[in-house]
Subunit: 392 residues, 4 copies
């Protein structure tokens, strides 16, 4: 029964990037193992797999340095393919990391020419995204960091980043694009340390923008996990602040290189908790943006393996969503996680007044007795494990 | 010459906690190895070592559950000792983690009785801090986290934390205390995952408070380093936002348990970069708050070793400050890190206008040529290494 | 159906330590949350939960410094309880880490008096283990490490460790005990760095013993995972060498403090792979030693939560074993993992001869064609994920 | 004074790989930033910088697929350059990781054709190394691992690795080459998990070879540090076993991607401890093999930056060696680390006899008194820190 329900639909809002399924499998120690695929081929195959949309960096579609005529021809062909296959482009972004000119950053680079070139490239990328209908524009600052911190005051870097993002927000407004920005954090790699290293740092940075309202975050499972942080907590903090504008789903082991594995292939418990949060089965609104799989197939795979990978990401997401819904519908679970209320105390715990302070000081509380109550978390977690394993 | 200058002075604003030098050396696998020291003894010895101030949790001084009369007698004796030894109490904090009643959190606990008790204990701790003259009150949420994320929505936890901090801000205002709050993040331990896991997450949380102005951060070297993040970047982000209200200095290896080692005993490069940032030798105002060593002596030490440890923290800090000053005074360094300016481009890189966008698009930029320029970072880092090693 | 089969039996050889279910829940930041349980109570409750055996440190049963008469009375009462409840003691070990005299190591300590006391304590512990029928004696060197590597040459430490283990092997032989040793590695905590940090280092150390034959390893999930290493690979290497003498099962996130969580509560994929290896469903003999859960309940739990925890460890193990068996029985899986053979090449790939070298050089091999073959690992891993999730 | 002594000499045995200084600076997110350099140019420049030797993979010198005539011409030109510049080739190795045919391993690959091709390539590489005079042949199994552990039993992989190494040992003997093997471990990257993940695992593997005597290890700072393990302890274990045949020096932060930074640019304390061990200033024989810098310049650098990098590696090594020698010559240090002896106990602590056991049990030992003695490790470590910083 569950199995029959695993076929993706448009309502799932599953997306992949051209750079994800199109990844040819080179790495720091090895050459490409798969031939390049054309963007139009990727669109056709993703549609066949059941994806709803496809995302892209400017240079995934239009080669660096292409002429305006080449660009237009490519875009035109791509739009035709989208139409044929019923696919959308919900998100676009700029490649500000591959070219040697970005070797020490783009928006935070010390060389004003690099910052100028980066702004210009981002404006062009935004135009491209707008033309393709992207409602979200992502910024991942792949080179915005250092190995040699003596070279640049981190405050200078943050200031430059703020100038750039605010500049581009105003550009979007000036053009009248219906587009929001989603900023993506990463702790390290390819730079020794990247500025604004986690979703938390990024959320704070956003709070300092002039154009705060149109900027949110794009948390990525792999990036938070590399630092050993809880993706669920990061996404929860972003949702609570109304700032979850996009999400990057994949798999990763903590404390190592950026793996970008198939969603659900690592840490199934964290994946379950994340899907449960996004789907809202335990409460709160369902996240209504794209579920973007920013991952790629193992280097052991040929093209068939790439489409196995893509289908696997979507199947596991749907399976986890079904398991989360069943877990949250279980009366024992509902009982275990029901909010404890106290009519006397609850009104005293927010919105200070001297009267509340006095009342708090007057109430009788027995910390020893409170401390002895068992909280049944082993039972709750074991039930969750058994739902996850399909054994309950 | 440098050596003679290593004696600490009041201007250094070096502080230790009662719980740091007073740590008896128990750990998850072993019993205490040192006898307890009285708070007044610690004050006397820290003064002898050259420290400027001493910090405390409420229960470092006043035992949990002490009567008002006992409390007053203890505080009175402690204040007398401070006066005799010329020591100040710049910071105080609440122990909201040791007692079993806090086993599932304090401000974020599910049980309203725990939240009420935590608020009350914090109010009392604030009163104690105010009485001792503490200008900074630190909150470290040692139990504000989970092992079982199914049990509590992270959004609920953040909301509860906000209610508590805003409540206590208003309490401070109501009492007329000249006190600011400094929030301290930690990724994990003793809980599986702690909410608001890094200084970045905490800075964002602060931006959502009603009383944002009176709340800043207390970054800790060990806590940022446990997650493999750059302490220098975190402190830079806090300083840029005007939110560095306090700092916890110690030593830590990445990716392991909270070690709280002697300052400078691990990652001397990061320690150098941090001291350089705090002392302002490369630019920016000098951080004017306490330099708090939140560390403790190895378990191999007796009491003599504890004071060696305390002197070592301060000596290494001063040594690194001297090395940073020398590095920044070196003309070759100044040349290597001088800001690159471009009269044509600089005005185009902030504060968007359609004219600037057009000008940016019109300017001639050669990314290939820009990418070929070497940035001399190996030279800069090697010079820094040699200053650090005292070889230049 | 699977569910009915989850009740533990003696054939499962599930064991717990007195120190695991008996853990009162103190940690570096908090006091005990649960009352102590007597060893006999633990025996009764573990039997009720379905465990086969119970393991112990000397001081879990007999307090440090107890007289011979006290010891004998305690042991006698304990043996009676074992008999009543049909429980065995398959493993015993020595506490060489809690007492302050071991603060800088036991067998590797610089003070000869500590090394002498440690040997003596271990001999007594071995006698206790033998009396209780333990066939395996574990050594975990909780304090065998350093924070200050200048203090002791690591070669000296290894030499001392070798002397101690060989000494104790000979003691066992001299006494005629039917007992083998299992050495347990850990990378760090409570010491900064522990000697012989992983199962790999320990296997090598064992290869240098005079009494190599009677010494194997006791790999622990949490300890290998703390360093981000593959438990499956470590156990595989130990099994290949005939050295898997015992195993410690629990849960842990990489790159943090030693968590000792309920088995299966973290990294279900790795837990599946480990159980599959131990149960031999994919080939190789089934591991025939105890399945020891070296874990403890969350600090949020009361005693009821402890027994939930214990039952959960065993249920999840059995569930994973059933899932692994189903996975390995799947014809598609069998096809995907079948060994590829090549009658011409296979004989040339081991046991060198000049003729084989010449034949290898003469054979036609096309690396380009070989490199293009897809290996269907995405499919295999997705099938495994779906078996794990009970969806296939 | 120290500074004058930093010029490298042949006695220092400093080496670099063609692939290290020749690294063009591409990474997973960016293109090459530096032009390729010819091997002969590298030889000339390394000689100018003061290096003693140059190491290489087969394909660093001879392109994959070159004809015998091409190969001979290249080798001949290279040997001429070595002679002109007075450089030696102390170590060579095989590239068994770049080509797509090795995407799932070389010696451990499932496809017998890959294993055959890998053996043949290694034989050819050994011939090349022998021709160039290399006394050490390194094996780093860059692809010997998995992402999908269901695909291959780790025992099978270890067996295949053993067959391959023993085969190639016999090949070396058969050819009469004066060559030893050095095996290099790495925990992960580029594969999810690599077999034989640390120097400890590799030392054990070596103990299981038929040709154990001619095989040792090549520990690498970055690889041990990635897993958060102590390089000093790993090298100490290898030296104690007579198995330190080669060493790879560089810099790395724990818990992240393989950085291969300039030696001494990270964790100066660990670098000091390592150099101290290799140079033997605290006791034990000086390591007499090459000091190989397996690192590369930051991607921000042009060719000038590469030679700054190379000079920096050697300068920092020599500086640390001088500092270690001074530290070990300090009488206070010598006193602090002097071995404690006990004429009564020392003979009882090794080489068991029933008499020794009885004597141990009879001796009076007071664990409380022993536990109270302070070990002055804070003082020792602070002195070391100050030597390291050149302040003492």
């Amino acid at each position: 029964m569950i199995i029959d329900a695993l076929q993706p639909t448009a309502d799932d809002r599953f997306t992949f990037g051209l750079w994800t399924v199109g990844n040819p499998g080179s790495d720091p120690f090895g050459l490409a193992v798969r031939a390049s695929m054309t963007p139009t081929h990727i669109v056709a195959k993703l549609a066949e797999c059941g994806a709803w949309g496809v995302n892209l960096h400017d240079n995934d579609l239009v080669p660096f340095g292409a002429s305006a005529a080449e660009r237009d021809a490519i875009v035109s062909e791509f739009k035709a393919a989208l139409k044929v296959h019923g696919m959308v482009v919900p998100m676009a972004t700029t490649n500000l990391f591959s070219h040697p000119c970005f070797k020490d950053g783009a928006f935070t680079a010390d060389d004003p020419r690099v910052r100028a070139f980066a702004l210009r490239k981002a404006m062009d990328g935004i135009d491209l995204g707008a033309e393709l209908g992207a409602a979200t524009y992502v910024f991942w600052g792949g080179r915005e960091g250092t190995e040699v911190d003596a070279s640049r005051d981190p405050r200078t870097a943050i200031g430059r980043m703020r100038d750039a993002i605010d500049f581009l927000c105003d550009y979007v407004k000036d053009r009248g694009y219906a587009m929001r920005f989603a900023l993506e954090a990463k702790p390290n790699e390819p730079r020794g340390d990247l500025y604004l290293a986690t979703t938390g740092h990024m959320l704070h940075f956003i709070s300092t923008l002039r154009n705060e309202a149109m900027v949110g975050v794009n948390p990525e499972v792999a990036h938070e996990t590399m630092a050993g942080l809880s993706m669920t907590h990061a996404v929860g903090q972003a949702m609570e602040a109304g700032k979850l504008f996009h999400i990057d789903l994949n798999g990763q082991k903590a404390g190592r290189f950026d793996q970008d594995l198939r969603f659900g292939s690592e840490d199934l418990k964290q994946a379950f908790l994340l899907v449960r949060l996004l789907e809202g089965s335990a409460g709160g609104a369902r996240y209504d943006g794209p579920r973007h799989f920013d991952a790629h197939a193992y280097r052991t795979e040929d093209e068939d393996g790439v489409w196995e990978f893509a289908r696997g990401c979507m199947r596991t997401y749907k399976l986890l969503a079904a398991r989360a819904a069943a877990f949250d519908a279980d009366p024992e679970v509902q009982d275990l996680i029901a909010e404890r209320t106290d009519p006397q105390l609850d009104p005293l715990l927010a919105d200070y007044s001297p009267q509340k302070a006095a009342a708090l000081r007057a109430v009788t509380l027995d910390p020893e007795a409170i401390g002895q109550r068992g909280l049944q978390r082993e039972r709750l977690d074991q039930i969750m494990t058994e739902y996850l394993l399909g054994a309950r």
